[in-house]
């Protein structure tokens, strides 16, 4: 069985930031927040794994550790066999990070100009650049809109541009943070369909999605992981989870394991 993402006993704690009053009255007091508590997880190639959990569950921390943006306190995580702390550069070659922060694009530039800029800093050679940019624009269906300024795109188009940027280096693994956040139901459905049919079934990518949207997870994920207060509460295929809990509805399962209603 080939696992492209392997996480073993990952732990991460943060020190809570203090307000001014707290800083004045308790300058040495530290409040520790456990973001990840002994998390272990394995994800197979070609899967879509949905990372579910309430706010503060540790979903984003986990994705950021796997993206080399946060250094864990202990434990080990590897991507395509490369350690996320010790072999950062090789990990970066294997991953694409797709987040919904539209501001990370340059709004006065066209879609194509944005992608050409990111392609250069991702190390794509000048003679391949046009081809690579066209390829990702075609995948996300924005080739005929590439000449339009980014600030004129709809939210759905901006989200697709984020996906296009994440695909520029043709990575094996994509980390997607809240893919349908802020999208209308039709655009959200299109994005989900695109992730599943185009990226996983056609291009054989592996995707780890952090989402609040249980319907989204239910509709596209092969594997589901529910995190709460930094711990994995439940994981497996939807069928397996339904069988183990004796509950058919994912929403009810979520309520049961996290206590969130």
């Amino acid at each position: 069985m080939s696992y492209v993402i392997e996480i073993n006993n990952l732990k991460k704690k943060f020190i809570k930031e203090k307000g001014l009053i707290e800083f004045i009255f308790h300058p040495f007091r530290k409040e520790i927040i456990t973001a990840l508590d002994d998390v272990s997880l394995k994800i197979k190639k070609g899967e879509i794994c949905g990372l579910l959990g309430p706010n503060g569950a540790g979903k984003t921390t986990l994705i950021k550790i796997l993206s080399t943006l946060i250094i864990p306190d202990s434990g080990k995580a590897s991507i395509n066999g490369y350690d996320v702390v010790k072999e950062e550069d090789y990990v970066k070659d294997s991953i694409g990070l797709i987040h919904h922060n539209e501001r990370s694009f340059f709004w006065r530039l066209t879609g194509r100009q944005n992608l050409e800029f990111f392609a250069t800093i991702y190390g794509i050679k000048r003679n391949n650049m046009k081809e690579e940019v066209n390829k990702v624009l075609e995948i996300v269906g924005l080739k005929d809109k590439a000449h339009i300024r980014f600030n004129s795109y709809s939210t759905g188009m901006k989200r697709k541009m984020s996906i296009a940027r994440g695909l520029l280096t043709n990575p094996d693994i994509l980390f997607v943070d809240e893919p349908s956040n802020g999208l209308d139901p039709v655009s959200a459905m299109k994005i989900r369909k695109f992730l599943k049919e185009e990226l996983v079934e056609k291009l054989k990518k592996t995707i780890l999605i952090a989402t609040h949207d249980l319907k989204e997870a239910e509709s596209i994920c092969n594997e589901i992981v529910i995190l709460d207060k930094g711990k994995i509460k439940i994981q497996g295929t939807l069928k397996k989870i339904q069988k183990n809990t004796g509950i058919n509805n994912l929403e009810k399962i979520f309520e049961k394991v996290t206590g969130c209603k």
């Binding site: 250069t120 991702y122 940027r165």
Partner: protein
Amino acid sequence: MFSELMAFLKKDFLSASSYKLDFAMSFVGIFFSVISFFFVSRLIPNAAVVDYGGDYFSFVLIGLALSNFIGLGMGSFSGIIRSMQRTGTIETILTSRTKLRHFLIGSSLWGYFMTIFDVSIYFIFGMFLFGMKLNANIPAALIILILNTICFSAIGIIAASMILIFKQGDPLTWIFTSLSSILGGTLYPITIMPIWLQKIAELLPITHALRAMRRAMIQGYPLSALKMDILFLLFFSLALIPISLIIFKMSLRKAKKDGSLVKY
């Protein structure tokens, strides 16, 4: 690295050229600044700057021009980091193989181009409309400008490291900017200050950069006559660049450990 830097320049050019009015306004702003200092220079006796050729207008215009570069060197990197934290671009960059320091250098390039352009406009207005007198030793001036840029960029990299850790507070730029503007001699020669303040001023790189630049640009001093100021800037640059890069690397690691890269 070269193609990365060119990509930054192209991106910033495309962005800046889409704001045409802003571009025109900066041109007008320079004109008003030059005209103001031209009239102020009428008030000041030329004897006050006799060590620099005796023309206050040339003295102050060079001071302002070099201060633009100094401000850019000290402030641009921290400004870029702050903006990257706000927009989330820092995460996009850090998941690529591009080193963050390359990103900083690339992002500041357009600022340097625009400053060179602004300074040229200062000099064009000064010389052709207001009779600014120059007897420039261009190679010496270029060497001073390069050393000045390296030196203040190193301070700027340390300031950017502070932004990575402390987010808003950047005491280093504040201290250096305040001290430099009061003691460095941008608007007046340091010789009008008390001796003890002059001694403090001699410890600041801006004092050496301004003195050497004025002597090279106004009086055409050769490099040999500027060697003490140049050596000071060289020493400062050689010492600060590795220190600043180490501090930056440590700050980045700390921000990654704290999970605070995009907090601002």
